[in-house]
Amino acid sequence: MRIACLALALIATLPASAQEPTVRVHSARPFGYFVGDLIHARIDVSAPENAALSRASLPKPGALTGSLDLRDVKFREVSENGARIWRLALTYQNFYVALDAREIEIPGFDLAISTAEGTETVKVPAWRVGVSPLREVAPQKQDDPVDYMRPDGSTPFVDEATPRHLAVAAGVAALLAFALVARDRAWPPFQRRKPRVFSALANEFSTRGAGSDGSELDAAIQSVHRALDTANGATLLSADLSGFLHRRPEFQPLRMDFERFFSASKRCFFGDERLSDDFRAEQLAQFVNALARRERSG
């Protein structure tokens, strides 16, 4: 640390005693300041353990004299060897334009301390630093005027590997994010294959049969209707058949079977008749198998 704990002054406000407050002013150097320089100082105030410093009595940043500003005040409190020490880090700025080397005074200030005995005032004394004038520099005579200029700075070495790795990582992350969006939106290749409703129904019929007569066959016909509704995206009536076959041309060869199915279903559910002999469980199962085959080819 540049502050070499150069004690400019050791001033005891009262005769030395472990119980009496003492003030030490440390400065980096007491000389060599030019106009505009910052002057850093540290002031240690030690006091008995039970003492308290009134923060309101700390100096406030601002102009102190016509040519000296207090720029910054930092305050820290520590306990050391049974004593309380307050450390003030003060930053002054010198605006005195010196024409010769001389000393200027940094003004002192008072701190208020309260102890068990009462309130005391501790004086931080004024101290002095040396300021110097700015003088022109007389350079060595050069033949070429360009030589008076400082040489160009050397080109810094840039490591290209790190940005390349970062770019690759960002690219991979972007692709991953795009893949997640595509999956979420079912964009290719994440679109789901159309569910094969007729294949599922054909499998169901092959395992448990399309049902014998009566209500089982009715239920089987209804399940074919539901599969047709699913394939159509809405309830499919026989009047909608042409539109459906136009939208799903893979079923076009089965038009006759569709018509037979709808006609049988109509008579069974809405007419006052049972299924005729030309449309029974076997025909229904064949129709569903044919639908399943056409569905796979579509």
């Binding site: 016909i221 209804q222 209707h225 539901r226 509704d229 995206g233 809405a234 309830t235 009536l237 026989s238 009047a239 279903s265 109509k266 559910f269 809405f270 007419g271 006052d272």
Partner: protein
């Protein structure tokens, strides 16, 4: 048993004549097969009709043709803002002796022989007139000259002026619910029909045009009996009835039936309507349609074919959607059909 067989045979015969009735009207009214079919359904279901159509599309010609093909009379009233119920019932004039006379109006004079009564621009008339008309529609009778006049064969056809808003009295929801169907009528789409309507002089003179229609291809005095027979003989299966009830549920509570429309909150869309009377009308119309198609049982296509015309004007949506016309109701009906499984 024999009686039932007899009715079935008579229904088949009546059906042929009903189709003949449609063909006769088509001679005078071009490119309106769908409208003519709906009017036929209303006549045989004995339901009153609200016709919605632009001016000059042939509404009067259609109704006069229907009246002629039924062999009955035709009466027409123009709704005006200062019309009072007495203007419809009474004909007032000055007699040769200079004294005022009050006679029955044309409507009362034709009461027994009137199958088609056309009320043009019904929303121009005041609510008092609507009130009289609603009684005429509901009871097929009016009181005048201290007695009751009955109209045993009457079908009311009313037209709404949808162009102007000034000096009109919009039909309240309850009045619209009394109409069996609202039939939209637009100019025909196909170019050939349009060309003939514009350039064929036969379509410029309504009187000569009407002469093409053979009078009395279906006797209007038979209609009440035919209507009763249709409603009795055309059966609805349990599956079909369940389907219609599911459709009703999908209309009244669309969200509970899984019906959804893009950009519309269906849970708050419907404010009223779709009454039991509406559903009964739907069943009646669907039965007549099944009969005209040559069946003695109802299928879902019968219901769907007449659904929008029977139901749309009886479904009342949130006012914020009502401003956008009846398109939203039609979309809702379509969505309800798409979401309701059958059988």
């Amino acid at each position: 048993m024999n009686a039932t067989l007899h009715v079935v045979e008579k229904l088949a015969d009546w059906r042929e004549r009903a189709l003949e009735f449609e063909r006769e009207i088509q001679k005078a009214v071009l490119g309106q097969a769908r409208v003519i079919r709906l009017v036929t359904i209303c006549i045989f279901a004995r339901g009153h009709v609200l016709i919605e159509g632009d001016v000059g599309v042939g509404k009067t010609t259609l109704l006069r043709s229907a009246s002629r093909a039924l062999g009955g009379d035709f009466a027409r009233v123009e709704g005006t803002v200062d019309m009072m119920p007495s203007d419809i019932l009474y004909h007032t004039y000055l007699g040769e002796d200079g004294r005022p006379r009050v006679e029955p109006s044309e409507l009362l004079r034709l009461a027994e022989t009137l199958p088609v009564f056309f009320f043009n621009e019904i929303n121009r008339a005041r609510p008092q007139v609507h009130s009289l008309l609603l009684r005429l529609m509901a009871e097929r009778s009016v009181s005048a000259f201290n007695r009751v006049y009955h109209f045993p064969y009457l079908n009311v056809f009313a037209d709404r002026n949808m162009v102007e808003r000034e000096e009109t009295f919009e039909l309240p929801a309850a009045a619209r619910d009394r109409f069996f169907m609202e039939i939209p009528m637009a100019a025909p789409d196909d170019t050939e029909s349009r060309r003939r309507l514009v350039f064929d002089p036969a379509f410029h003179d309504t009187e000569t045009l009407l002469e093409r229609v053979s009078p009395g291809s279906f006797d209007y005095r038979k209609i009440p009996e035919v209507s009763r027979a249709i409603q009795t003989e055309v059966k609805s299966s349990e599956a079909l009835e369940r389907y219609v009830l599911n459709l009703w549920q999908a209309l009244v509570k669309p969200s509970s039936a899984g019906v959804s429309l893009p950009d519309v909150d269906v849970s708050s869309l419907i404010k009223g309507g779709a009454s039991p009377r509406a559903l009964a009308a739907l069943a009646r119309a669907a039965r007549v349609r099944a009969w005209l198609e040559g069946r003695n049982y109802l299928i879902p296509e019968d219901v769907r074919d007449v659904f929008v015309e029977v139901m749309a004007h009886r479904i009342f949506v949130d006012p914020i959607h009502a401003l956008r016309g009846d398109d939203i109701v039609k979309r809702l009906c379509r969505a309800a059909f798409d979401a309701t499984p059958v059988p």
